[in-house]
Symmetry: D3
Subunit: 233 residues, 6 copies
Amino acid sequence: MGVVVTNIKRTDKKVVDAFAEGKYGVATVHEAQGRKGLLAPEISPIYKGAYVAGTAVTISAPPCDNWMIHVAVEQCEPGDVLVLAPTSYSDAGYFGDLLATSLKARGVKGLIIDAGVRDTKDLTEMGFPVWSKCIFSQGTVKETLGSVNIPVVCAGAHVNPGDLIIADDDGVVVVAQDEAADVLKKSQEREANEESKRQRLAAGELGLEIYKMRERLAEKGLKYIDQKDYQKS
Amino acid sequence: MGVVVTNIKRTDKKVVDAFAEGKYGVATVHEAQGRKGLLAPEISPIYKGAYVAGTAVTISAPPCDNWMIHVAVEQCEPGDVLVLAPTSYSDAGYFGDLLATSLKARGVKGLIIDAGVRDTKDLTEMGFPVWSKCIFSQGTVKETLGSVNIPVVCAGAHVNPGDLIIADDDGVVVVAQDEAADVLKKSQEREANEESKRQRLAAGELGLEIYKMRERLAEKGLKYIDQKDYQKS
Amino acid sequence: MGVVVTNIKRTDKKVVDAFAEGKYGVATVHEAQGRKGLLAPEISPIYKGAYVAGTAVTISAPPCDNWMIHVAVEQCEPGDVLVLAPTSYSDAGYFGDLLATSLKARGVKGLIIDAGVRDTKDLTEMGFPVWSKCIFSQGTVKETLGSVNIPVVCAGAHVNPGDLIIADDDGVVVVAQDEAADVLKKSQEREANEESKRQRLAAGELGLEIYKMRERLAEKGLKYIDQKDYQKS
Amino acid sequence: MGVVVTNIKRTDKKVVDAFAEGKYGVATVHEAQGRKGLLAPEISPIYKGAYVAGTAVTISAPPCDNWMIHVAVEQCEPGDVLVLAPTSYSDAGYFGDLLATSLKARGVKGLIIDAGVRDTKDLTEMGFPVWSKCIFSQGTVKETLGSVNIPVVCAGAHVNPGDLIIADDDGVVVVAQDEAADVLKKSQEREANEESKRQRLAAGELGLEIYKMRERLAEKGLKYIDQKDYQKS
Amino acid sequence: MGVVVTNIKRTDKKVVDAFAEGKYGVATVHEAQGRKGLLAPEISPIYKGAYVAGTAVTISAPPCDNWMIHVAVEQCEPGDVLVLAPTSYSDAGYFGDLLATSLKARGVKGLIIDAGVRDTKDLTEMGFPVWSKCIFSQGTVKETLGSVNIPVVCAGAHVNPGDLIIADDDGVVVVAQDEAADVLKKSQEREANEESKRQRLAAGELGLEIYKMRERLAEKGLKYIDQKDYQKS
Amino acid sequence: MGVVVTNIKRTDKKVVDAFAEGKYGVATVHEAQGRKGLLAPEISPIYKGAYVAGTAVTISAPPCDNWMIHVAVEQCEPGDVLVLAPTSYSDAGYFGDLLATSLKARGVKGLIIDAGVRDTKDLTEMGFPVWSKCIFSQGTVKETLGSVNIPVVCAGAHVNPGDLIIADDDGVVVVAQDEAADVLKKSQEREANEESKRQRLAAGELGLEIYKMRERLAEKGLKYIDQKDYQKS
């Protein structure tokens, strides 16, 4: 504890920008990278409609102590997303509109926090998105050191500084820095593939046909039975 | 497991349409049918303002396996509502925008699921309402059979295929198929009765008077005491 | 149980009005009064954007029994906020649009309830704000007495009748009646102070500088280390 | 509400006795009947080591109102197990040592309750087992009717009066009355089959071999890789 | 914050000793004092079989900071029970075997804590009972002041210093200092009354008769119906 | 997914044995290694009194699918502890007495699982300790591959294969393989230091004196005030 790692390597800006432009959703990215990296479903946005793709600046903070956020601000660059993991359960409101003002001034895109947030009306009006475990006005102290830009486990997911963070209405997913370019490609392919499926389904075709599921279902033993016969059995 | 019941009997279309037209809310319907049939309060809509009255197509699905949704789509008719109950706790995202596209093409009105859902931004934009336990991008597999149109317990409520489902901002209530006509009548009466009460209350009359509660309260022993005297005691 | 305390003393109207005008948020008021009086984070608004400052009329109600709300209505005056604490855990829907109509007719500003609420679509359209533990259509009975205007513990906070209640998107805070004037003054000062900070932070100044944190961080042992050196260790 | 169904048909006593003698555990019975009928994992025993096989007398009780337990006692026969499902969430302590004394005098084997219980030290000393959602001294009232021996949903499982209830340290499972004989046979077979497996496993044989899993694992694509090679990739 | 109130008035020692001798359980005391004062059911003993009746020394502690326990030890006298309420949610382990050794040396009977505890095997072997929200080894810091012997809300119950605390396998109840003598008398009466009921129930008499419930049940509309007739309806 | 890493490097056996002999508790080890590595408090032992120090064989398993446990058994050596992390939330019972028989035959010391377990009575009688999120008889399938001996996040903690696992009544802590020798030394020192403290505290000395806290408390502003004076203020 008590370490600030400086000059971190970040995910390639072109890759991050391509995600931000395509707005590949959390569900898409999660599938594209082989179903890993999701934060727990308790983490939800304070308002709907936000989309963020950015590079992680990580904070390992003591419970109910937000001192390290002030330290982390200085380490942020435009395009970053702050990711805060407390070292023990906390629902305290680590973050409010003053810190958001400061982060916004530095070009930070949003905050992911496995704890509480407050001033949510102000944050909504400012358009500074936060994904948090809860909304709670209970404040914090500035007494104990934590660390900045060390690896953390945030809401059950491993996040390294510089990793790519994608967040939308569905929640948050982290993409490892050295896999981001590959995941981008797969996300693009996935989107393209889904678009053709979407049109066929919209036209009334069945997934059972499109995905050729009937044979495998029958093999597994699926039986169709008329309700009249079912009720007799 | 592994049964698809076909040609199910559904709640009378005229009754369903009368509910849909009157937009009798979940609270009203629940009271009208004698305070039963509510799904647990964890089940909430992914967006506000939707109202659905439709007939249940039920799915009993393995945890984290959405294969049976594809099977169920084929069993759906216009006016149906899909009701999915996992056989074990799951917060996985069984459902997203592709399945919604397919259901919408068949005239399905919405989904009730005691598990997770994803692509919620897309679902909101499409206007396909979902009532779920959570929002989570964690996907599912297609490995194990479940059943379609068998009786299920969904979020604590017993649902038979063909039953009437009512869902709004307050949650979800199920009405047994053979009670639906009677519940419609009682819902209409209840609404009419409430309207007159609403006007009297809006004019400043007290419920204590309208419902003639004073005598029974006194019988039970209710005492009024001035704050000055209360603080002395 | 079974007591209605009448003629309660309320927080000075001028003070309440000053809060209502300034819209001092829950987080601000909570800090201004020394970080106490917050209700638990489970208590959240049924819709976003509401702000209430009013005087508490308290209800201690049996679980799943809303009889006392009808009794409490008569004790309400314009500017009051109803605060209901069940004597045992309950997620039942104690409150709906009829009671809201009645309260609105008497000038009541909102409801705080450590239990459930229903008819939330109607309440939203009426503009009657409720902060509750959950939304649930399961109704209540009218069988057992409770009390009105006695001290209660609501969602972990002690509330006396006549206390000042502040509620917004962040949740709810209670201010003791005899401290309200002092807390108003401190809230005003806090807001003024924050405004100047906000401008400096928006201009890109660091909190580390504004709050002069560097020295104390160093004293505690905070170390900065380049990522290349960190990875070697 | 307000119905007591009398002279219920119960699961065949010989079948119940065979379960009680064989002490077929909840996990075994659950598997034997095709993985259905389990109550939710929140339901746990107040003390370890109890085993119960008995016939259900069901109670649908209002939240925080234990009046119907007194009514149900009269309907109980030796070998019964009481199953209480509240109509709305309740953690109240519906049950204590006096009711247990009364039930024990009638030959009732235990209580399953999706709510709270109290006097647990006395119940433990009496050897009256209870499986409950929680332990809580908060008592109940006797104001509102419920029903006895109607079908209920208890902790997510459908229970009909007369059904077989099996409960042990793992939790509770319900077996439909007309399936009990068949489930007994399958439980006995399962136990016999497991015993031979147990001996082979205890001797060091691998499940991979006994269950012949290697081929199917390989088909699915499972790969073995030495740690040195894995770290390079 | 930051106040230690000294020379607190405690509940009369004779009354406390009478509770300790009679071992009046939490459920009994809770009923005897009119169903109030219970701590939430999340608070449970780390081992079974302990019974404590003692006088409260209260601690209001910052989240995850146990400094004030050291301060409180000095304020304890033989027969006290420590009651710790964090000012914000915390599951940290505030307390272990060293602090227990210290408290035991001063004659303190146990700890009630709305947070976590650790070293539970040692505490069990020492026979120092703790009622806590959870067991967790995550430690605390000693950075921020709290207060000792001020009124606190602990797990939903209001506790004043010097109040009587009763704790057993069922949980914890607090009795106001000036009501303790009266509650003792009522607990004794209740126990005596229950003993005669217990004997009648053990002999097979029905509560329906002993409590003369039949008439009131009929008035409320309770109906008995044979299962054969019920199934036809 | 679908990888089994073989020939993993394990924590030095002498170090593991020294932990096992000294029975350094989870709280001690957690402090000794700088307050990191704890699994979440939901993970608790199925019976009290067990202590385990062993080397991790890790499993990343699909939700509700225990196939990989069979695969992992083959990778286990005497002294190992199995650590299972599902890739999505699951409360299913992955593990029962047959698998425990197999693991015991290979010298495995216990199981840590962020999911459910069943056959707990048998496991207790066998003396095979399990630390789990819950006890639940709901079984699993064998349909989908996972991986063995890859890094996992289990109940919020990062576990690498071969890491040291310590588990007791308080929960579970993981020690990184290359820090284990150092943590052993610090645990031994900590225990020695605590023993002297324990004797002084048992003799009635105050922690305030032993740890010389008075000065720092006064600096922070702690005030002592007689109750009579406090009540006037």
